[in-house]
Homo-oligomer: 185 residues x 2
DNA sequence: TCCTTTAGTATCGAGTCGATACTGTCTCAT
DNA sequence: ATGAGACAGTATCGACTCGATACTAAAGGA
């Protein structure tokens, strides 16, 4: 039982975050799914990608998505190009609900901290996250722009380009979460 | 959607911790309960105290405790002095199981960090925790020794004393979690 | 003594979650 | 082209969480 102070604090903070996430008639997992879909790029808005992101089985994700659909927060359509796939999109109602995201509380608490302390925290958490992911072979799920397949100014219309999907990227897309993201080595 | 980087990281870390906590046939909440009972002092090893610690309803706690009892990890006895109360204690099996605590992974990851980074993290998390608790009027659940009712050397046998419960405290007890704990102002 | 508070349990309904089994769809090597 | 296997999702089960509500029993006060 070595137990650094940070371990207990993170455990407790996790619990607080979890408890808060029972707002607006959603469950914690449903909020996480909703947030992911709001931030994921086109190719990542699928049940499979969400499965990888949440780290649960596809069965669970399937049910969570059904719940969100029942509540009218997301919409399912057949993916174009592959009729096995399902494309997920937030409905206007889903987008509106995000304004009540209980995680806003955490943001507010962070805002109340001195900026250097906040930056320190981010840096340390990032390092810890990397450690944890390495320990289990999980993916980082970072933003498109931090990916090694990301290049700039390849075509006229779009400012960026994805070398893996061979697709042009808008500025907005470059900030989104991508399942294929691999941090630059 | 202000969203500091730390918010996303904490959300994600919470999920990782949650996922890991499905080990050894226990559920995340059961692990949390088990850990609490291992660290709580005499007066705090009750369903009521655990309810406050977890921040869920007493009904939920009641069921979780039944599950732990069924698995032979805890033992319930009537509290002495108040026949409504239930006293909780880990069984040897429960104590043994704690060696497989999935949170050990987090500890290991922290151990891999440079010491100063780790200390920075603790400090920042502590500050954040305080902020969050103030925002909702939650309790800190700190160690007995950090309480304002804690005094030293009051009686011959025991080195410390609780002014609230008017009870002598051993060195070990002074390190445990107490529901009545109020941080010194 | 009655009345209220307090500690905990019982039960319900919605949801999570792993496990397992299943239906389509795509892909590729023959 | 076609048949085998990989792949994307869904269906169902059982154990559990969790809030809500209703309940029992003991304690304590006026």
């Amino acid at each position: 039982m070595s137990d650094f102070a940070a371990t207990a604090l993170l455990e407790r903070l996790s619990r607080v975050i979890h408890n808060d996430a029972h707002a607006s008639g959603l469950k914690p997992t449903q909020w996480e799914a909703l947030r992911f879909l709001a931030r994921a790029n086109r190719v990542s808005r699928s049940p499979g990608a969400l499965t990888g992101f949440l780290g649960v089985t596809k069965g669970t994700v399937s049910q969570t998505l059904q719940a969100l659909e029942r509540k009218g927060l997301i919409e399912k359509t057949t993916a174009d190009g592959d009729r096995r796939g399902v494309k997920l999109d937030l409905t206007p109602a889903g987008r509106t609900l995000l304004a009540d995201d209980p995680l806003t509380d955490l943001d507010a608490s962070l805002a109340a901290m001195p900026p250097e302390a906040r930056d320190q925290l981010s840096t340390s958490l990032e390092r810890l996250m990397t450690e944890m992911l390495a320990r289990r072979g999980g993916r980082a799920f970072g933003a498109c722009r931090t990916c090694r397949h990301f290049t700039r100014g390849h075509r006229e219309g779009a400012p960026y380009f994805c070398a893996l999907l061979r697709a042009p990227l808008s500025r907005e897309e470059s900030e989104q979460i991508c399942i294929e993201q691999e941090t630059t080595a």
